[in-house]
Amino acid sequence: MPVISKIEIKNASITKNNLFALLDKISKEKTLIAPVRNELEDVDFLPVDNAAAICFDYDNTASSAKEFFFPQYECMFTFSGASNASIKDKNGNEEIVLFGLRSCDVKGMKLLDKFYQRTFEDDYYLSKRRKSVIISVACPELNEQCFCTATETGPVLLEGFDIQLISTGEDYAVQIGSQKGLELFEKYKRLFGPEVAVDVKKLLAQAKKKEPKFNLQKVYENLKEDKVDEKFWEDIASRCQSCGLCLFLCPTCSCYTVTDKDTPLGESRRSRQWDACYFRGFTRMAAGYDPIRNNKEMIKRKYLHKLVQQIDEFETSGCVGCGRCNLVCVGNVNWLDNIIKIERAG
């Protein structure tokens, strides 16, 4: 069952003030997650109980919002004793509305939607996603670190969204792209205005022309055909210190590890937490055998996974060009710089 039931795009509009009013209403009637700028000037997604708490003026949030569907730590179930058991669904998932997600992160979410249905339905992720509606906001322009034009994941989307807002100056053009989006629109119809048509294809072409960043097809080929010099991989491997952050931050990273642990107050839990392929312990097997023979292979694997394998499988780039991993590395590994080097190889 798809997470997003697509409908034919319906166009509308909303003024800046009405958007504020809409979000304020939603914040009181549902659970609203939106970007918040705190007193330390960091901007990230948090639950808000009024629209005044929302930050509208940001490039992109520190995280991609995957925390709300695939949290860093999640209790899967609790257990006690050894007797036969029944699973009681105490997952109090309420409906959430997520406002302010950028196109790249919407694409990232879409890829996770596919991933978590890939071999079996991951109910922990999907139950939350199915109860959520995302109001995404297209980016007016790219910044130095992001590259959605190259990965075809933005700055505005043709489809695959619930509700998409596109700035028209002070106000927004609104596009409704899914059944859930339509239901939300219908509920708060009075706050929306008449159709404002947007030529999304033109916007995308303009953005790509202005900032192409790199040619993904070339990168795909150079990686698939192993045309990149060994020294390139050696350099990255020598810099990586296995902090895991580039992967924890990545909107499309989905790996986790499962632990059975007691809490300090004696509750036995099976939990899962974010894991990453940049730890040797991630691939190492019993008796110490590691199919990843060295750090070079470990590094290379991520590039192949996101820029070749996921393209092959999901027909969309595994990297959504959000740029977050560029500035998170204590070894100064810049993912975008490296992709451009790969493009130029061979």
Binding site: D42, L46, F68, F77, I96, Q241, F279
Partner: protein, 688 residues
């Protein structure tokens, strides 16, 4: 019965800003809290130290303090076993027994160990407990095991014992000289600055017996023997002076004692020094020239220098080198000891130290004594007290009868733990604050459960003297309590009421008594902290020290002769055994061994052996082998590589089930009383 997981769909998610509980870099990040539980860590892009980055320990720190075996109730030992009891009963026992011992044997029969893992406010109260309530200056903490030579050495050379420059300045240095510091593993976010400097074209010189990550990309890598730093540094100064590369103007106007230095370094020619340090003479010459000619040069060091019987002299030697080349009191230069623990700088500032009052005001200075007597309303002892090292020694000698240890585990982290055990067992009373049971706590009469960094508000001071807040994110687990509150109760029960509404109020008292913290308050440090010296409420803090003049006026050169470690290899024990730290674990592993991703990476103890040494012993990677010293033996896995120098063995000390300090030598720097963790004599045998 299985119940499906709790609500985890984003509601009630909070970000609580805090400071990392691990190393002395002092990164800022947010603890993620959901339904009253720690559920993760989020980055802070704006934090001046972490700048949107973290190391693997920081990002997993949420898991480290929620282990199921957190101590939740006070424990009292009865017939050799621990029994849970109430706070009231436990505190009554603690206050009662300590009062008895004080009455019977005198105040100096007691000792208090503050904690470099706990807040400034706790440490201030710990030393106040010792001084104003017990009546003794026998107060110290685990800086004794690591950087007290830094304090002792730099006070002698510069007048102030702290890191001279700020962490972020390192990335703009033209040259970085890193000696005895495995920066990318022990201080990853400082290692990042070194990496950045190199990427920007800076020159990097690394001196370490192990081929650490920075050695791999250094311009010059010197792999010298453990315990030969003075010879190496003297040789560099010999080259600099004989080639006229010193900063003559700087030396003339800002220092004293050059002649004494010259006299001593004269004989440390490259040819003389090379066999001592085990390094090519030419390489030392190259390093000397590069360091002297590339300015500003930032000198970075940690325990490779301090954890020796000549620790204090090692520190004075790097101070010599930096002064000779005019690199102190300049931006992106300096002498930069990287403090190891989240609040070891603070614990020193707060004077959990036997010879200082808060703010490095001397205990044996009558004017200072009078100031504190007035502030606290009691008579105070003018006699400097015993260090932790000497408290342990004197416990064995029967002079120390009672110890109050907060958040430290000497049975894992002191050298020659067999001796330490004998000492602690002789005590008449031992009380320990802990978050998890430890080997030391096992020996205690009373164990008091403390609240972790996530369960209380207070301040830590990082290596660059930045005072920062930790903010309470969750309620104390079980019946654990913030350590500062426990100390208040003990003091009050012993007849001196400690009454503070909160830790902000304690910081106000600190600011009133310690001039370097004069302008520090919780309100002022809320966003980016403040670096001391910060003398008053309008002062913006101090980025780097000794600009224009040293704290003591002129910088002082000291002529220092090389002296080998207390125990050197011989026929029976032919290897040099050194010990240290890894990126994925932290000190005695209390927190990291309980964190899934960290322990998974390195779950067992090992010894690093050089390939050629391994071959001679028919030892292969992952074979079992026995490492023995005169003090004990351990059977561990061998990790064979070219990382350690031939003739050298290296072990981490993170595994309490195989404690490296069973083997290390309880030989101490006579000035700073720090143990020689970095060098003793060992033998290695294959176990079949």
């Amino acid at each position: 019965m299985i119940q499906k997981g709790k609500a985890s769909n984003g509601v009630k998610l909070e970000y609580i800003p805090t400071t990392c509980p691990y190393c002395g870099t002092g990164c800022g990040f947010y603890l993620k809290v959901r339904a009253g539980e720690l559920v993760g860590v989020a980055l802070s892009k704006t934090h001046p130290v972490s700048q949107g980055r973290l190391c693997v320990k920081g990002v997993t720190s949420w898991e480290s303090v929620i282990g199921s075996d957190r101590l939740k109730k006070p424990l009292v030992k009865k017939n050799g076993k621990f029994i849970e009891t109430s706070w009231d009963k436990a505190l009554a026992m603690v206050a009662g027994r300590l009062s008895e011992l004080k009455e019977k044997y005198g105040p100096d029969s007691l000792g208090v160990w503050g904690s470099a893992r706990c807040t400034n406010e706790l440490n201030f109260l710990a030393q106040k407990l010792a001084r104003a309530v017990f009546g003794t200056n026998n107060v110290d903490h685990c800086a004794r095991t690591c950087h007290s030579p830094t304090v002792a050495g730099l006070v002698r050379s510069f007048g102030s014992g702290a890191m001279t420059n700020s962490i972020d300045e390192i990335k703009d240095a033209a040259c970085i000289f890193a000696i005895g510091s495995n920066t990318p593993e022990a201080h990853p976010l400082i290692g990042w600055r070194i990496r950045t400097a190199k990427d920007k074209g800076a020159k990097l010189i690394v001196c370490d017996p192990r081929k650490i990550d920075t050695a791999q990309y250094a311009d010059i890598y010197i792999q010298h023997y453990p315990g030969t730093d003075i010879a190496l540094l003297n040789c560099m100064m010999n080259v600099i002076i004989s080639e006229g590369l010193e900063d003559k103007e700087y030396v003339r106007t800002r220092t004293e004692g050059l002649e004494e230095l010259k006299k001593v370094v004269e004989k440390y020619t490259p040819e003389y020094t090379s066999p001592i340090v085990g390094v090519d003479a030419e390489l030392i010459v190259k390093a000397a020239r590069l360091y002297a000619k590339t300015r500003p040069a930032s000198l970075v060091y940690t325990l490779g220098l301090t954890e020796h019987t000549v620790g204090t002299e090692n520190v004075m030697s790097v101070a010599n080198l930096a002064m000779l080349t005019g690199n102190v009191g300049v931006e992106s230069g300096g002498v930069n000891p990287l403090r190891g623990q989240n609040n070891v700088q603070g614990a020193c500032d707060m004077a959990a130290l036997p010879n200082f009052y808060p703010g490095y005001q001397k205990v044996d200075d009558p004017a200072i004594q009078e100031k504190f007597e007035k502030a606290w309303g009691v008579n105070l002892s003018p006699k400097p007290g015993l260090t932790t090292t000497d408290q342990v020694i004197q416990a064995k000698a029967g002079k120390i009868k009672g110890l109050y240890i907060i958040g430290e585990d000497p049975l894992t982290s002191d050298p020659n733990i067999t001796e330490v055990r004998q000492s602690l067992e002789k005590l008449e009373f031992l009380v320990v604050h802990e978050i998890y049971m430890s080997p030391t706590a096992e020996l205690a009469d009373v164990v008091l459960p403390g609240a972790s960094f996530a369960e209380k508000t207070g301040t830590f001071t990082n290596s660059e003297r930045r005072v920062q807040l930790i903010n309470k994110a969750i309620e104390p687990i079980g019946q654990s309590r913030p350590d500062w509150q426990i100390v208040c109760d003990v003091a009050t029960r012993m007849g001196y009421p400690f009454k503070y509404a909160d830790t902000a109020e304690i910081m106000d008292e600190i600011a009133a008594l310690a001039p370097i913290y004069g302008g520090i308050s919780h309100d002022r440090i809320r966003k980016v902290g403040l670096q001391w010296p910060c003398p008053d409420k309008s002062h913006p803090g101090t980025k780097y020290l000794h600009k224009g003049k040293f704290t003591r006026g002129l910088g002082k050169f000291h002529g220092i002769e090389h002296k080998p470690p207390a125990e050197v290899p011989d026929d029976r024990y032919p290897f040099i055994l050194s010990t240290g730290r890894m990126r994925f674990h932290y000190n005695d592993g209390t927190m990291t061994r309980r964190t899934h991703i960290l322990d998974r990476e390195f779950p067992f103890m090992f010894v690093e052996v050089n390939e050629r040494d391994a071959e001679r012993l028919s030892l292969r990677d992952m074979n079992d082998c026995r490492v023995s010293t005169r003090r004990g033996q351990l059977t561990v896995k061998a990790r064979v590589s070219d990382r350690v120098k031939e003739g050298v063995l290296w072990m981490p000390f993170h595994y309490t089930e195989a404690p490296a300090n069973l083997l290390t030598n309880d030989a101490f720097c006579p000035i700073a009383r720090t143990g020689e963790y970095k060098a003793c004599a060992a033998k290695l045998e294959k176990v079949v």
